[in-house]
């Protein structure tokens, strides 16, 4: 029904952006964090409130707290100070943001999102701003500005696409992170971020699955993988002395279609005889702390190294997840390292030394699997994926915070025969966000998610019409959770899967029983018919 799709009014923006008034509407906001979550995490100003309320019950000295918080962060982060000062408002970033493209709200232009903060910075931290006020682009910090910040800093997925195009590399993700840190100081946060954070802190994972539940889920997956293959697949939990600790996002063992990716991992590990273990204590690779503050990120991330040390593993392997890898790649070692109790990762099957992980000692599963395939260590039958016409969505963080672009493509091209790229302005470092990252993937925010995901969906539609693509693969748990809804709305008929799900389909395992269906239980395309289909 794309006729009734969210209307995007591309009228030129009018009026003056310095008016902070925001219309809060259901569908485009996330609800406030429940007090119990703030209390559990020891965060300030727990209370019952909603963004739709007139009174946000801010602490009496909220203004002083915000300004002092800003001052502190300007001293601690060169990025923050620099990005407050050097923007020339050339506008190159404007039409790069998926939220701007999908909503046509001019304050969603990345430059504008940053100006919301810069205008306050100028007023309180620069001479020209203090002297000339509005003429110098300065604004008073008022309660309306706080509300505006809340609206727009929780309407940015920290995907960093705008930064790719900025001539100075100004990164809106940094500004949004600062904005959210500041808002957290006065208790303006969302439940979709803080409940997973509180769960992760207490139980070990975002979904709040307790250890016995974790074991049940893992055992269930192992049983299912055994049933599919006719082999006895077991998953060791918290086994000391294993060579490798495997950490994945919790959605992999609790949500669909992530679950099929988990089956793929388990089959792979069984086939190559990997000496590994998983942990209920460190049962979350993802990190919703990234979406609230640097401190929270560090608090949640600490478990991974602690558990690796306790279990005495040699190195750590990480599953398919986007923001998880931003944290692991760019923050973990700095925050919770050095990991001098681990060894430089070596693939036990191929002898490959993962030199690029010499310090962090954590390898991405796509790096690991691509290496196995390259060395011919896996028997693969790509025709088992012939029922899929595959495209690949680069998840923002592995693409722009890491550069993991070729490894998943190499795997996909090895396990399937019908792979088609989306247009080049929408993939790799220019990939469009799913519109639900950075803690915005909740249903109360659905309208904004559908708007934000529109550019991505638009590119999927293109390859669907051109090549008959019916499967969008990705390596991000948030993608897997939210893209199905997005595609159902904009491009019905395209499914979502992880890269290791397709690997699991194609993997010919030693001693496996004859397989006639894929991990989802859908029958493989008959040999002849599949040839004709793609002739």
């Amino acid at each position: 029904m794309p006729g009734t799709l969210v209307q995007i009014e591309s009228k030129p923006p009018r009026g003056d952006w310095t008016d902070p008034h925001v219309e809060f509407r259901k569908g485009s906001i996330c609800y406030s964090a429940a007090p119990k979550n703030l209390e559990y995490l020891g965060l300030p100003n727990p209370r019952v409130w909603q963004p739709l309320d007139a009174d946000w019950k801010l602490p009496p000295d909220w203004k002083r707290i915000l300004l002092e918080g800003m001052k502190d962060r300007l001293k601690k982060y060169r990025s923050f100070r620099l990005f407050m000062e050097i923007c020339v408002r050339c506008g190159a970033c404007a039409d790069k943001c998926h939220f701007y493209l999908g909503s046509a709200d001019p304050k969603n232009m990345p430059v504008m999102r940053a100006e919301l903060m810069r205008s306050v910075y100028r007023r309180y931290f620069t001479l020209t701003g203090r002297l000339f006020g509005a003429l110098a682009g300065a604004r008073e910090l008022t309660e309306d500005v706080v509300k505006e910040w809340f609206y727009y800093f929780y309407q940015c997925t920290e995907c960093r696409r705008c930064s790719v195009f900025c001539p100075y590399g100004i990164d809106t993700a940094e500004i949004t992170m600062m904005g959210r840190e500041l808002l957290n100081l006065i208790g303006c946060n969302t439940n979709w971020i803080l409940e997973p954070a509180a769960n992760c802190f207490r139980m070990g994972n975002h979904l709040g699955i307790q250890p016995h539940g974790f074991k049940d889920s893992i055992d269930f997956a192992a049983e299912e993988a055994s049933e599919i293959t006719g082999l006895k697949i077991e998953v060791p939990i918290q086994r000391k002395g294993a060579e490798v600790l495997f950490v994945m996002p919790s959605a992999d063992y609790f949500a669909s279609p992530h679950y099929y990716t988990l089956l793929g991992y388990l089959m792979l590990f069984h086939e190559i005889g990997l000496d590994y273990t998983v942990s209920a204590y460190a049962s979350e690779g993802g990190n919703f702390g990234l979406f609230s503050s640097h401190e929270m990120m560090k608090r949640l991330n600490a478990k991974i190294y602690e558990e690796a040390r306790r279990l005495g593993v040699k190195w750590i392997l990480g599953g398919e997840c986007g923001h998880m890898w931003r944290v692991l790649h760019q923050y973990m070692d700095t925050m919770n390292g050095p990991a001098d109790f681990l060894e430089v990762p070596v693939s036990p099957m191929t002898g490959t030394v993962f030199e690029n992980t010499r310090s962090t000692k954590m390898v991405h599963i796509c790096e690991f699997t691509a290496d196995l395939i390259h060395h011919g260590r896996l028997r693969l039958d790509p025709s088992r994926n012939d029922h899929w016409n595959v495209t690949y969505h680069d998840s923002c963080n592995p693409a722009r915070g890491m550069g993991l672009l070729e490894e998943p493509r190499y795997i996909l091209n090895s396990v399937s025969r019908h792979f088609h790229e989306m247009p080049e302005n929408t993939i790799r470092e220019q990939t469009f966000c799913c519109g639900s990252g950075a803690g915005l993937g909740t249903d109360e925010n659905l309208e904004m998610r559908l708007r934000g995901g529109f550019p991505r969906a638009n590119a999927v539609k293109y390859v669907k019409e051109k090549y008959g693509v019916n499967l969008l693969t990705c390596i991000c748990a948030i993608d897997k959770a939210t893209l199905p809804t997005l595609l159902e709305y904009w491009v019905p008929g395209v499914e979502v899967a992880g890269v290791h799900e397709l690997l699991g389909n194609a993997l010919v395992m030693t001693g496996e029983k004859e397989r006639t269906a894929d991990l989802r239980g859908e029958p493989f395309a008959p040999a002849r018919e599949s040839e004709a289909l793609h002739a």
Binding site: W17, K76, I86, D95, M109, R160, S163, V164, L404, E406
Partner: protein
């Protein structure tokens, strides 16, 4: 409205210049005091800003990667757009500073019915590049006024710049490029609704000021010829800190000088500081090697975590029931004492 105020500000400066040129003491102030003061503010302000930036730590290694990472030896990495080493970062930065690499990626998104179409758009890149390079060319040509004998390089540049020998005196290519690109940047700020929406006073002011400088400069070269001997006499004396004010300085020249001085003094307090800041941007000037070499955060501090022992204590019964191995199985009994 913001554009109007900027225009008014620049016009006022021109008037001040003209009035000063006519007044008795005005010439000395405009030719000596203002340039010296402006230059001092420029130098001091620029250094202060750069020092303040460089003293702020870079706690995390956060490059924006724009190409394939260096991982497995058989995967070809994008050495410059995703640099792994310091030399590669230098090349990346050179591309940013000299060629505006990131801006070169620019494209334009537009809605066509239900489709989003991403089309090429290199105008902004071209306009900015032409503007900055021609400005540099013009600055270098001005060295002729401050040096005696004139360096061979400056003469060479001038020859190159006037290569086509059009008109008398020959028109410099850099002048045409500067006017055209400034014109483009100004028109774009007014005509593109998105850009107009985001533009502040400072955005118009910087452009109009530059236009005023370019205009008065060209006026002096092509129409109201300035007495170049006096100008050079002044420039040399200023550079030698032996200031002498020649009597033949024209009003246009004094206005030109005032506008240049304004730009210099305004520079450190404005967005024009992007000239210094671009070198310090942590998303561009860091190597993407954070998994291979540990990046140290100078203010890293301990945080409250949920240690394993506490976690095991909290979930002891459930762990036992599920058969997950415990760390403190025996210690649990010993705790009763």
């Amino acid at each position: 409205m913001r554009a109007f105020w900027s225009l008014l500000a620049v016009a006022a400066l021109v008037l001040v210049g003209l009035a000063g040129a006519a007044a008795a003491g005005g010439r000395v102030i405009l030719a000596l005091a203002v340039p010296y003061a402006a230059f001092a503010v420029f130098l001091g302000g620029f250094c202060w800003r750069v020092v303040r930036w460089s003293r702020a730590p870079v706690p995390f290694r956060i490059p924006v990667t724009c190409g394939q990472q260096k991982s497995l030896p058989w995967i070809r990495s994008s050495r410059i757009d995703n640099p792994f080493t310091v030399p590669a970062v230098v090349v990346r930065m050179a591309g940013e500073v000299l060629l505006f690499r990131s801006l070169f990626r620019n494209n334009r998104a537009r809605l066509a019915g239900e489709r989003l179409v991403l089309g090429e758009n290199k105008y902004l890149w071209l306009g900015s590049l032409a503007f900055h390079w021609s400005l540099l060319m013009i600055l270098l040509r001005h060295l002729r006024l401050f040096m005696e004998p004139v360096p061979a390089l400056v003469n060479r540049l001038e020859q190159l710049d006037g290569f086509f020998q059009l008109g008398a005196p020959p028109i410099y290519l850099s002048d045409i490029a500067l006017l055209a690109s400034l014109g483009y940047l100004i028109v774009r700020r007014f005509r593109d609704p998105m850009v107009r929406y985001i533009s502040l006073f400072t955005d118009y002011f910087a452009l109009l000021l530059l236009l005023g400088i370019a205009g008065t400069g060209m006026l002096m070269r092509y129409y109201l010829r300035a007495d170049i001997v006096s100008v050079k006499q002044l420039a040399l004396s200023i550079a030698a800190f032996h200031p002498v004010v020649p009597s033949a300085l024209s009003p246009v020249f004094l206005v030109h000088l005032l506008l240049v001085s304004t730009l210099a003094a305004y520079f450190p307090f404005s967005k024009l500081m992007h000239a210094g800041g671009v070198f310090l941007s942590p998303t561009r000037n860091l190597a993407n090697n954070s998994r291979s070499r540990r990046h140290v955060n100078p203010w890293n501090y301990p945080v409250k975590t949920h240690p394993y022992a506490e976690w095991e204590e909290e979930f002891r019964e459930k762990l036992k029931e599920a058969g997950i191995p415990l760390e403190a199985e025996h210690a649990g009994n010993a705790r009763t004492d």
